[in-house]
């Protein structure tokens, strides 16, 4: 039993291992600091040349055409347009799916539907992008002849399908966490299954449902490949889903596909746009986390 001897060599080894494990834990802080430092330093260079007011309030985005203009609102407009369109599909359909799975479905239906939705959730975004380009866009173009090769609608539909499993599975978790006693009390005073589902379970699970909605919207805002492939590269202030737009993420891809040299203003726009994207998604994720904690506490 030599192994268990508490010799000084093994004590040194123990401390070394502890230090190593601590280092790998601390690496996550390094990653976060890295993201913030990288985004901030290059953005500062950008804001030395472009005023933050012009960046945040300007309505013309044309970083490579003279006269140059760095108003990010058209990109934000594109991002929000696609996110809103996809939410229009994913939120109601996802919530209805969650209600069905948690309140109505037989165990057998649950066992087939849930894995199917999990597969949908595991499909890479580039596959969804292919789906948008080769299937959804042609269908849209037959229905609406004015639609071009790129449209916000095509991206919104496909992103909606992409974030649907996230809404349904997280909302279902929230509904299933509502204590059975609440349902039984409602049945006890004569409520129907429909009334129990919509007037008791859904309101009780609302913070969890809201958390899933916010997370899904954050995911839609961060989505890159589908919007690059299907929505195009035409930044503009429009609410017309049938037109080509450009999102913040698609712009980042566009710049990185070109060969922008380090230190150029074009290279720096990448970080300024990235910083805004990072802040928006971070705010949404924190909000969603707060909702989830509050939800958990309400049933303790």
């Amino acid at each position: 039993m030599r192994k268990s001897e508490p010799g000084s060599a093994s004590r040194v080894g123990e401390r070394l291992i502890g230090a190593l494990l601590f280092t790998s834990g601390a690496l996550s802080i390094v990653a976060t600091v890295g993201i913030v430092v990288v985004l901030l330093t290059e953005s500062l260079g950008f804001f030395a040349e472009v005023s933050p007011v012009e960046f945040l309030a300007g309505t013309r985005w044309s970083p490579d055409l003279v006269p140059r203009s760095f108003g990010i609102l058209p990109l934000v407009n594109g991002t929000l347009l696609v996110a809103a369109g996809s939410a229009l599909i994913a939120l109601p359909v996802g919530l209805a799916t969650a209600i069905y799975l948690s309140e109505f479905a037989s165990i057998r239906t649950k066992r087939t539907v849930k894995p199917a939705l999990e597969i949908l959730a595991g499909i890479p975004t580039v596959v969804y992008g292919y789906f948008a380009v080769t299937l959804v866009t042609p269908v849209l173009r037959t229905l609406f002849p004015e639609v071009g090769v790129f449209s916000a609608a095509s991206a919104a539909i496909v992103v909606g399908i992409m974030i649907l499993p996230m809404v349904s599975s997280l909302s279902e978790d929230a509904l299933s966490a509502v204590p059975g006693s609440l349902r039984e009390a409602a049945y006890g005073v004569g409520a129907t299954r429909f009334e129990v589902a919509t007037r008791i379970v859904v309101p009780a699970g609302l913070p969890g449902i809201a958390a899933s909605f916010i997370l899904a919207i954050s995911r839609a805002i961060a989505e890159t490949i589908v919007v690059t492939l299907a929505a195009g590269a035409t930044p503009g202030m429009t609410l017309d889903l049938l037109r080509s737009i450009q999102t913040m993420t698609a712009y980042i891809v566009q710049v990185s596909l070109g060969d922008a040299p380090s230190g150029s203003i074009e290279y720096r726009t990448l970080f300024a746009v990235g910083l805004l994207l990072f802040l928006i998604t971070l705010a949404l994720n924190l909000l969603s986390q707060r909702m989830t904690t509050r939800f958990r506490e309400s049933f303790r």
Binding site: K3, S4, P6, G13, G18, L21, T23, S24, G25, A26, L27, S28, I29, A31, T32, G34, I35, V38, L39, E42, P92, V93, A96, T97, Y100, F104, A105, V113, A116, L120, G122, I123, P124, T125, V126, V127, Y130, F131, V133, T134, L135, I161, T192, R193, F194, T198, I221, T224, L229, I252, V253, S256, S262, L270, F271, L277, L282, N285, L286, Q289
Partner: protein, 292 residues
């Protein structure tokens, strides 16, 4: 009997109307479920229809080409394989190490809470932001250029929180009695972990790692940002070589306006999805096998 006849007095239950509203609502919900399932079916069927005819030995063994009939995914498959191996080598020890620290060593204090919230937030940072980080740090600052190593390091940062969270769950599920039994026999902390906690948690850790790797295998955006969209018609032989990967090749062919290349993209998607689904199935199998 007319159900309306039952109405009267204060007990206006309108049961029939309420029941009908319920049935209508249930069908609406069924429609929603059908939408999700139908989307999956349409996606898989159209992919199979477009992609299966493109599959052939030549397709798997050829390099990309300007001519659709000669183009293949050899360099993309090799690039993805290299990428997954490198990501595994980097993210597994770091992710599991951090998980062991947080679950077995870390004191309950502010710093530990900070670490945990930080990791949870890193897991939801948009993948394209990791691409920007990789571009600035690995490609430019460390001058790794557009190498496999730069790509793998970027993707490792992306999957580290996933591996870490899965590993922590697996380690937390190991009963304390195992640790206490080891300590009672005089084991040091590391000996208890090395010989008892880790083996017991390994199935969960492995399945989480495989799921993280399958995420890395399908990622496109970070690789695009670090500049991996290039024409690669040779085998990558070292981590410092430039590379392409399956998602990049699919992206490239999907952007091609010529329809012939869409069929190639579908073929590559069938290969990619086949590999990813097998990895996911393996992860589930490992978990079920060892879970009681």
């Amino acid at each position: 009997m007319n159900p309306g006849a039952l109405r009267g007095g204060r007990f206006d239950t309108r049961l029939e109307a309420r029941r009908r509203a319920g049935v209508r609502f249930m069908w609406l919900c069924r429609l929603a479920v059908a939408f999700g399932v139908a989307s999956l079916v349409v996606l898989l069927v159209s992919l199979a229809a477009d992609g299966l005819p493109a599959l052939s030995f030549e397709f798997l063994a050829s390099y990309p080409s300007r001519f659709p009939e000669r183009a293949g995914i050899r360099s993309a498959i090799l690039g993805s394989a290299w990428m997954l191996a490198l990501v595994a080598v980097m993210s597994f020890p770091l992710g599991v190490g951090a998980a062991l620290y947080l679950e077995e060593y870390a004191p309950t204090n502010r710093f530990t809470t900070l670490l945990k919230t930080n990791i949870a937030n890193l897991a939801s940072v948009p993948s394209i932001v990791y691409g920007i980080l990789g571009l600035a740090v690995f490609v430019r600052f460390l001058a790794l250029e557009r190498s496999l190593l730069a790509g793998a390091a970027t993707l490792s940062l992306l999957v580290l929180p996933i591996v870490n969270i899965a590993a922590r769950e697996a380690i937390r599920a190991v009963p304390d009695s195992l640790r206490e039994a080891a300590y009672a026999l005089g084991a040091t902390r590391w000996q208890a972990i090395r010989h008892h906690v880790l083996p017991a948690a390994m199935p969960g850790i492995l399945s989480g790692t495989i799921l993280g790797l399958s995420r890395a295998g399908g990622e496109t955006a970070p690789l695009l940002v670090i500049g991996a969209l290039t024409f690669i018609a040779f085998d990558p032989l070292s981590p410092m070589d430039p590379f392409t990967a399956l998602p990049i090749q699919i992206f490239n062919w999907t952007t091609d306006p010529r329809g012939e290349f869409h069929a190639l993209a579908a073929g590559a998607i069938v290969v990619l999805l086949g590999v990813l689904l097998m990895m996911n199935a393996a992860a589930i199998l490992i978990r079920n096998r060892f879970e009681r």
